[in-house]
Symmetry: C2
Subunit: 355 residues, 2 copies
C-alpha cells in the first residue's frame, strides 16, 4: 500500500512472507516471517522472466501440504528461507517474455511478497500465468471465483461428477472458496444441494446467498451420519469432498448406487500427523461408488469455457461470491492459518496492493 | 452322493445346510446346521419353477455379508431357518419354465441342499440361470473359472481398470477364486503383475502356475508398504482389491498418478464388528486415483464374450485354474469358513454330487 510511485528500473524494498521451516501439525504464525529485501523493478536484458507487482493473494488449504518436509507428490514443498508461493493476481511491471507485456494484469502462482520475478517453465502447470480478460468484476475474483478455486468447483463438479438434473448433491466446507461455487453450479444444473459448514453464519450464507436447498452446521451435529440421513433420506448421488476424515466416513454409507465422490481436498486432515481412519469403505463396493481424486492443473484447457460461462453468470446475477479480505501482506500468515480453524467467512483473500 | 436312481416325481429326502441365525463376528460351523427335509422331484402343473439337482456349490467371501442381520444393500440377508444360497452348478430334473428343460446343466444361484426349487424373477439378477454351453471342461469350473468368480475377474479387470500393456498390476488374495484369474488376464494383456497371498504354497502357485511376475506372502511382511515399494519401485497402475483394511492402506501411497483401484471384495473386513480405519485416502487426491466399486451382476451382458474367450484360452492351455474341493454337502460350512482363515488353496468348491 506504499510505493505507488515506483516505476520500472527503480530499486525498491520488497516485503516478503518467508517460510521459516517445515511444519509438523498445526502451522503457527511464527512459521511464516515478515521480512524485507531489495528488488530492482526490471527484468535483465535477454531474460524471459516477468516482474510483477502482487495485488491479491489467495489463501488455499492445499498450501499446508507445501509446508511438509516430504512433498505431497503433485507439488513441491516450500523452500525454507524463501517466500511462500500461492495463487494471486498481479500486474506486470516489466517482461522479457514475448507473450506478456508491461501493464497487463495476470493471475497464477506468484510469491507472497510485494514484487515477484516469475519464470514460466514449459510444461510446468504451476508456472502458468493467465491473462485477466474481464476487468468489469473485482480483480480479487481472480484469486477465487474466476481463479483456481472457482475453476476447481467448475471442473471438479462438471468433469468429474457426471451431474444430472435432479441429482442429490452434498458439499462439505460449502461456504469456502470452492464450496460456495459447487453448490451454485449444482443448482444451475437443477440438482438438489445440501452444504455443511462450521458456523450458523456460514449456514445462513449457504441458504440465503448461495441458494443451497439446505445447509447445516456440522459442529452442532452429534452424529454426522444421522444428519446426512435427515437431509438425504434417499441418499447422495454426488459428494464434493473438501474435508475428509469423519465427514467422509459419514458420507460413504449414505451414498446411492453409482454415486460419485470427487476428492478436491481433505482440509480436516492436513494438520494431523496421522490422518484419521475411514472405516466405511466397503460402501464403495456395496453402492458401486466411484471416488476419484482431482487436480485443477489437469483441466486448464477448460479454463476459457469456464471463464466465459461464469463471467456471464456474474453479469446476470446468477452467481454470487463472498470473500473474506484482509488488508496488508503482513496479515497473510494469520489469514492462512485461519482457514484451518474456519475463521474465514467465504474465500480468504489477502490484499497486498489495490493496484 | 446317494439316490443316483431317483427320478422325476419321486419324493426323496433332501439334505440341506440351514442358516441358523444372523452372525456377528467370525462365523462358526454351528451357525450352519445340516438338516434333512422331503422334496418331491417335480414342478407343480402351471408353475414356471425349475427343480434342480445341485452338483457343485461355490464358496465365496461375499456370502458372509448375507449372514448379517442388516443386509449389505445389494443383496438380501439369508433367512434364518432356511438353507444358505450361493452360486452352484445344477442339473435340471423338472422345469415349468419354457426356456429350461429337463436334463440341462445350468449355473446360477441355488440352495445349499441336494435339490432346489428355483424361481426365476424378471429383473432379479440373483435369480439368473446360465445354461452351461461347454462340457469339455470340468463342470465345477462353472462355480469359478467360468462362473461368477472368473467372470468377476474378467469384467472387474477389463471393464473397470482400463488396463494397458505394460501397466503395473497388483492383486491381493491373488490365489483365490477371483485373484488367480485377474493375474492371468493381466499377463495376457502384457501387464507386469504381482500378487500376494497368505502362504508360501500359494505364493508358489502364483509364480509357477498362474504366471505372476512376482508374488509374496503378506503374512511374512512386517511392513506391507515396504513390500509394495520393493515390488513396485515405480508404483502401481492397477490394484484389484479383494482384501481391504491394512492392505488397502498400504496400497494407496504406492499408487501411480491416475491409478485405478477396483473394489471387488474386502475379505479382511467381513468378520469385524467395526471395519479397520484406512488412513491414506489423501493419496486418492495426490495421485488422482480412481477407486470404484464393482458388482458382477451389472456386467452380465458381457458373459457370452467372456465365456468364448476364456473357454478358448483353457483349450489352448493359456489359462490355468486351481480348485480346492471338498466332497459332500456336509463339508460345506467348514469349507466356507475356511475362506476367512485362508485354509483353501485356490477356488473353494463343495461337491454335492458328481452328476
Amino acid at each position: 500500500m506504499k510505493m505507488e510511485n515506483m516505476a520500472k528500473g527503480d530499486e525498491v524494498s520488497n516485503q516478503q512472507i518467508i517460510f521459516r521451516d517445515f511444519v509438523t501439525g498445526f502451522p503457527k504464525e511464527s512459521d511464516m516471517i515478515l521480512s524485507s529485501s531489495k528488488i530492482r523493478l526490471e527484468v535483465l536484458e535477454g531474460s524471459k522472466a516477468i516482474l510483477v507487482k502482487n495485488l491479491y493473494l489467495s489463501c488455499d488449504p492445499y498450501l499446508r501440504s507445501r509446508m511438509n518436509r516430504i512433498p505431497p507428490g503433485y507439488i513441491p514443498s516450500f523452500t525454507p528461507g524463501s517466500p511462500l508461493q500461492g495463487f494471486g493476481v498481479s500486474k506486470i511491471i516489466d517482461s522479457g517474455h514475448p507473450e506478456f507485456k508491461e501493464g497487463e494484469l495476470v493471475w497464477g502462482v506468484t510469491g507472497w511478497e510485494e514484487y515477484s520475478l516469475l519464470t514460466l517453465i514449459d510444461g510446468d502447470k504451476l508456472s502458468t500465468l493467465f491473462k485477466i480478460k474481464y476487468t468489469d468484476v473485482p480483480l480479487s475474483f481472480y484469486t477465487g471465483l474466476l481463479g483456481m478455486a472457482g475453476f476447481s468447483a467448475y471442473a471438479g463438479f462438471h468433469e468429474m461428477c457426471a451431474p444430472k438434473k435432479g441429482d442429490y448433491v452434498y458439499v462439505s466446507a460449502a461456504s469456502g472458496g470452492v464450496g460456495q461455487l459447487v453448490g451454485q453450479f449444482a443448482k444451475l444444473m437443477g440438482c438438489y444441494v445440501v452444504g455443511s459448514a462450521g458456523s450458523n453464519e456460514k449456514v445462513n450464507l449457504l441458504k440465503n446467498k448461495f441458494g443451497y436447498d439446505e445447509a447445516f452446521n456440522y459442529k452442532e451435529e452429534y452424529d454426522l451420519n444421522e444428519a446426512l440421513k435427515r437431509y438425504f433420506p434417499e441418499g447422495i448421488d454426488i459428494y464434493f469432498e473438501n474435508v475428509g476424515g469423519k465427514m467422509l466416513d459419514a458420507v460413504l454409507p449414505n451414498m446411492r448406487d453409482h454415486g460419485r465422490i470427487v476428492v478436491c481436498g481433505m482440509i480436516s486432515q492436513y494438520n494431523l500427523e496421522k490422518p484419521e481412519g475411514v472405516h466405511n469403505l466397503f460402501s464403495i463396493l456395496v453402492k458401486r461408488v466411484r471416488m476419484e481424486g482431482f487436480m485443477v492443473f489437469e483441466h486448464y484447457h477448460l479454463y476459457p469455457q469456464f471463464l466465459e460461462l461464469t463471467h456471464q453468470y456474474i453479469k446476470e446475477g446468477k452467481i454470487f461470491y463472498v470473500e473474506d479480505t484482509v488488508e496488508g501482506l503482513e496479515k497473510g500468515p494469520e489469514a492462512l492459518i485461519g482457514l484451518f480453524t474456519g475463521s474465514n467467512i467465504g474465500k480468504q483473500v489477502v490484499v497486498v496492493a489495490h493496484e
